[in-house]
Amino acid sequence: MSDHTLDKLPGGYKGMAADMSSDQTAFKGVQWGKTMMWIFLLSDTFIFSCFLISYMKGRASTVVDWPNTSEVFSLHVGDVPVPLLLIAIMTFVLITSSGTMALAVKYGYERNRKMCAWLILATAIGGLTFVGMQAFEWSKLIHEGVRPWENPFGAKQFGSFFFMITGFHGTHVSIGVIFLFIFARKTFRGDFDTGKRGFFTTMKSDYVAIEILGLYWHFVDLVWVFIFAFFYLW
């Protein structure tokens, strides 16, 4: 469905009632793949929410003191400990990559193949940097004696929740990075212009796929916003 006809539909809640009572599609103009990604992300939101709720319950009910995160995650610049320095850099890297992804989606829809591909590549490199810094952070903490089952700074659950939540988020980032590289190659090759068929699914490639990947990538960023706030800052 083209945007041209979409604009003629009523908006707001009136439009919602009309869409829901119409035939064929409930979400007008939203492609199947994009709907799927949205519903999947909703489901994934529940996964991360459950993790964070468990973390809240665990942290709030422990009788041993929770470590001071801004000390634990501080980096020494020269001799001065700067609290949360690495985490701040990671946040900035991830937001940067989110921005390049948003622009890649825009250029994709404008059929600007080169620009789109370079931006996806930039996003992938940003994601890779993030994963790299996370690996550094993990090894630093492990070096200091933090383990999933113990923690020299206080409550055991600190180590457990830290490795589990950031690990699960890092897995999401890594999967995203892999797909970003694949998509960068596909875009450079022009798959989305020629409608080349997918290797596994045998379905035609389409620029919508970049928006779908973009949704996933922004979601990863979104989750980081919550982890940053609740795990590192709280």
Partner: protein, 111 residues
């Protein structure tokens, strides 16, 4: 397929809006980092963290994920399930208080 060809004919969003949001996200991230830098404590810290977090999340969802431009049918389907999570959060917060209470009670008073 035809959908993108139609889409290409016009209404992608201006680049300015993305750059604006991008900039705002940097500013908000910086602000939330400053919360830790100045070591605010107590209610002030928590409310600032949550406000900046929600603003960032809202900007990402609304503009980067295009939810602002989506039709209400999709937006509502995505946001209403969060009430279940909200309920879960509130109840687990209460549950955590109670767990701490019982732990303290049985530690000091005994079973």
């Amino acid at each position: 397929m035809d959908e993108t060809q139609n889409k290409a004919q016009g209404s992608t969003h201006k680049i300015g809006i993305y750059l604006w949001i991008w900039g705002l996200l940097f500013v908000l991230s910086f602000c939330s980092y400053m919360v830790d830098w100045f070591a605010f404590q107590g209610l002030l810290r928590w409310s600032l963290i949550v406000i900046f977090m929600l603003l960032k999340a809202g900007l990402i969802m609304a503009f980067f994920m295009h939810l602002f431009w989506e039709r209400y049918a999709l937006v509502n389907v995505l946001l209403w399930p969060m009430t279940a999570i909200a309920c879960f959060i509130v109840l687990m917060a209460a549950e955590a208080q109670y767990t701490v209470f019982t732990r303290a009670f049985y530690f000091f008073v005994g079973g």
